[in-house]
């Protein structure tokens, strides 16, 4: 820092005799802003770096706290396994077709598949990659997510191609008196 022994007349309304002054050494070319910001450039840089490291450390702490909060939230999550519920008449879903429904809550899209051979399968429609809705392509024997070309096996729900690496959430179904019932989410 550059400082002088004499107060500078232009350093402020009161003379600001305590502040270091640039341009008080007799040089007439000193810019006017030096009067109001009487710090040398190297001094400014040192202060800025220290402040910046403090801000970065605060940001680091905030990110760590956010991660802890996310971990706590994740550990408190409970999967809604659903209650047994009537879905649809079996006669309304012939072999080779599907039926869309909501399970376990009205915000959870699901799909019931009536496979060739009479087997029934039900899955959550949420892709396990980023949550897009999957749909059935019986002619290609696959459940397909159009967002990122994810492909699932319609029998097991396993991910077979694309970005998803986890199977679709499977819903246990049963037929009682000609009616398809959802019995609950199958635990992984």
């Amino acid at each position: 820092m550059t400082a002088t022994d004499e107060p500078h007349a232009g350093a402020g309304p009161s003379g600001s005799a305590d502040l270091p002054c640039i341009g008080c050494d007799g040089s007439e070319d000193a810019p006017l802003w030096h009067d109001e910001f009487p710090l040398t450039s190297s001094g400014e840089e040192q202060v800025a770096r220290r402040d910046f490291t403090r801000y970065l450390l605060a940001a680091s702490g905030a990110f760590a706290a956010g991660s802890i909060g996310a971990a706590a939230w994740a550990s408190m999550q409970r999967t809604n396994v659903g209650e047994p519920r009537r879905i649809v008449e079996l006669s309304a879903v012939p072999e080779g077709t599907d039926h869309l429904f909501r399970y376990p809550s009205k915000d959870d899209p699901a799909i019931l598949l009536h496979l060739e051979g009479g087997e029934l399968r039900a899955f959550s429609q949420r892709c396990t990659h980023l949550g897009c809705v999957v749909f059935w392509q019986p002619e290609q024997d696959r459940l397909y997510c159009p967002c990122h070309d994810g492909v699932f096996n319609p029998v097991s729900g396993d991910a077979v191609a694309g970005p998803p690496d986890r199977p679709l959430t499977r819903i246990d179904v049963d037929v009682r008196n000609g009616v398809v019932w959802a019995k609950g989410i199958e635990e992984a």
């Binding site: 040192q46 490291t53 680091s60 990110f63 956010g66 991660s67 996310a70 971990a71 939230w73 986890r166």
Partner: protein, 69 residues
């Protein structure tokens, strides 16, 4: 005297770069933890949080060390 100032500036510059890299990594770890929520994988979120806290502690320790050197 000049050498000492230069050394101090080099050291603080190095610390600055390290902290920027560290905060960038912590941004990624926060995203991983949030992904753990979305994917119902608490273990993933917990491990990301632990690593993030370790990085924060090491950064705080390093800054303390440099300031008191």
């Amino acid at each position: 005297m000049k050498t000492s100032i230069r050394a101090e500036r080099r050291r603080s510059g190095g610390l600055l770069v390290y902290l920027i890299l560290l905060v960038s990594l912590q941004t990624f770890l926060l995203v991983v933890a949030l992904e753990g929520i979305a994917a119902h994988e608490p273990d993933l979120a917990r491990n990301a949080a632990i690593l993030s806290v370790v990085l924060f502690a090491s950064a705080a320790g390093l800054r303390w060390f440099v300031r008191h050197d």
